[in-house]
């Protein structure tokens, strides 16, 4: 498919992001921020897809890892005050990676119980971990606690956001396609058969958690430097659910599908808002017939979710319905 020459594609994508980022001033800032949200959600969904899709585990705590990465990166970058752009970029990269590493350590911590748990139990434990992380942040006064934490630098731009999204997609796809990475799919398909042929399911599950958490942490760092304000409630259970929904609608273990779903599901609430918002439709009075959409957009979102699951439980972009195994992208 399009991933036949992955390395050159990755470089091309990063170069394209850089070129677009040079023209950022010409893009309406609303759409620029929506595009950052899209990139962050792509990173989150693609990394969660490694855990939930390819490896067949069920994590409901991705927002917790995102929170760890976001707060870590923000604390580091807030120490910096200077105007040297090269130094700023270096510090931003270091802060993002530090956030990713700390989140990965969290992933290791969560990955360990997966040695014993599966399915729904795992889902609820990861959910629990996510909530515990949120409550701990709420109680840490040094980073603002429940009041929230201001991030000084708005360093996230088109290049960083989409460049890292491209790297994430590349790493996950290349990993799953490698000889080592086939083990993730083997663990998903049949754990017992996999261990019978010498694959250590525990190792693969923990690896999936650690890598997934690392990228979620980086996504958190990007999010922190785009919103410039963090609150623990922004990383609650609902955010985790949002990411899971992207993975499921995209099709478990179907990376292009998950990327599309991340884009669509970020745009959908925005689109419903724009559609229903009189401000965006100049010259039309308050009796604008679509005004109700803005009020009911989240209801529409939830109904769409139910209808989509009822009609296409295998995901929006997965072709065969009967196929149980994840399709390798």
């Amino acid at each position: 498919m399009i991933f036949n020459r992955p390395k050159s594609l990755l470089l091309a994508a990063i170069a394209l992001c850089f070129v677009v980022s040079l023209f950022e001033n010409h893009i309406q800032s609303y759409w620029l921020y929506v595009s950052y949200d899209i990139a962050v959600n792509i990173i989150l969904a693609v990394s969660l897809n490694l855990i939930n899709g390819y490896t067949g585990q069920f994590s409901l705590g991705h927002a917790g890892f995102m929170a760890v990465g976001g707060y870590t990166a923000a604390v580091i970058s807030n120490q910096f005050s200077g105007s040297n752009p090269v130094l700023a970029a270096a510090i931003f990269l270091a802060a993002l990676i530090a956030g990713g590493l700390l989140a990965a350590a969290g992933g290791l911590l969560v990955g360990l119980p997966t040695l014993r748990l599966r399915g729904d139990y795992l889902a609820i434990v990861t959910l629990g971990f996510g909530e515990i992380i949120r409550v701990i942040i709420q109680n840490m006064d040094a980073i603002g606690g429940a009041r929230g934490y201001s991030v000084i630098h708005g360093w996230t731009n088109f290049f960083w956001a989409f460049g890292i999204a491209a790297v994430t997609i590349y790493v996950v796809v290349a990993l799953v396609h490698s000889t080592y990475g086939r083990g993730f799919i083997a663990v998903h398909d049949d754990e017992i058969a996999a261990s019978a042929v010498g694959i250590n399911p525990t190792k693969y599950k923990v690896t999936a958690f650690v890598i997934g958490a690392f990228f979620a942490g980086i996504a958190g760092g990007l999010y922190a430097h785009s919103k410039q304000y963090l609150t623990p409630d922004g990383f609650g259970f609902m955010k985790s659910i949002e990411i899971v929904v992207m993975v499921i609608l995209g099709g478990m273990g179907n990376t292009p599908g998950v990327v599309l779903a991340a884009i669509l599901l970020t745009l959908l609430p925005e689109g419903l808002r724009t559609l229903g918002d009189v401000e965006h439709v100049p010259g039309i009075s308050a009796e604008y017939p679509l005004g109700w959409i803005a009020n009911t957009r989240m209801i529409i979102y939830s109904l769409l979710l139910i209808v989509l699951m009822l009609t296409r439980p295998q995901g929006l972009f997965t072709r065969q319905s009967a196929r149980k195994n994840p399709k390798i992208a």
Binding site: N139, V244, Y301, L305, P313
Partner: protein
Amino acid sequence: MTEFLQQLINGLAFGSILALIALGYTMVYGILRFINFAHGDVFMIGAFAGFYLAPRVAALVPMPSILGGLIVMAGSMAICAILGILIERIAYRPLRRGTKLAVLITSIGVSLFLEYAGQKFFGAAPRRFPALIPSYSIENIGGLSVSSNQIIVLGVTLALLIVLRFIVQKTKIGTAMRALSFNPEAASLMGINTDVVISFTFGLGSALAAAGGILFAILYPAIDPLMGIMPGLKAFCAAVLGGIGNLPGAALGGVIIGTVEIFVAGSKYSTYRDAIAFAILILILLVKPSGLLGKKDIEKV
């Protein structure tokens, strides 16, 4: 010592509400093997049904009174039973042969729908729940202060648990429920109408959640459309703690988690109260994944 007993009473009252919600989770899990995420929101609808029923009931019988409270609670339980059956019929039944994940996500969709629809139609701001029953504070029983509401919560919960036990153990439909949770295929081969039994289970679980919602609103009379999320998650932890699929286990788990949470809330670590249920859950799953009263599942190759 007095403070310990006082907290124990507060904890038992809160825990018995969690137990009522946990029973719904555990019954549905026992039969369909999936986590019904919308259950916590049915609990919320139960409280709001009581909120809107109370003025109408007050026009018929004097309120607050025991009779009025019972009528409101029965009405709310009936509304939620119908709601639960409808949710299963519309959202879950078409996916019964699908993957567990699809049903799980659908239940999350239903949960979001109930929350957002609640915010739209009930308003997002907290509402004051009307007094359903006369409330007294009984002071100084050995230094303890017990409110009549707490006693009523404990009493109603106990009564509902006895009724539930009777339904599940002694009636024909209860036997069918147990058969279905044991082996759905064999149960349907024995002539059990699985659709009817599943609908009944959802109705029963939702009615218990509604009762929990009313009792919760009596104890903590500020209700809002998102009130069901945290109690719902904690009740799920309780169901797992007791051994999911096990009814006495769910009740026990609810009481334990509720009591421990109230003790934490009364200590200097009070800001960590929302994390405690999950910490208990993680601990129990690491030590005994089948739960306190659960049976170990043997994995077949």
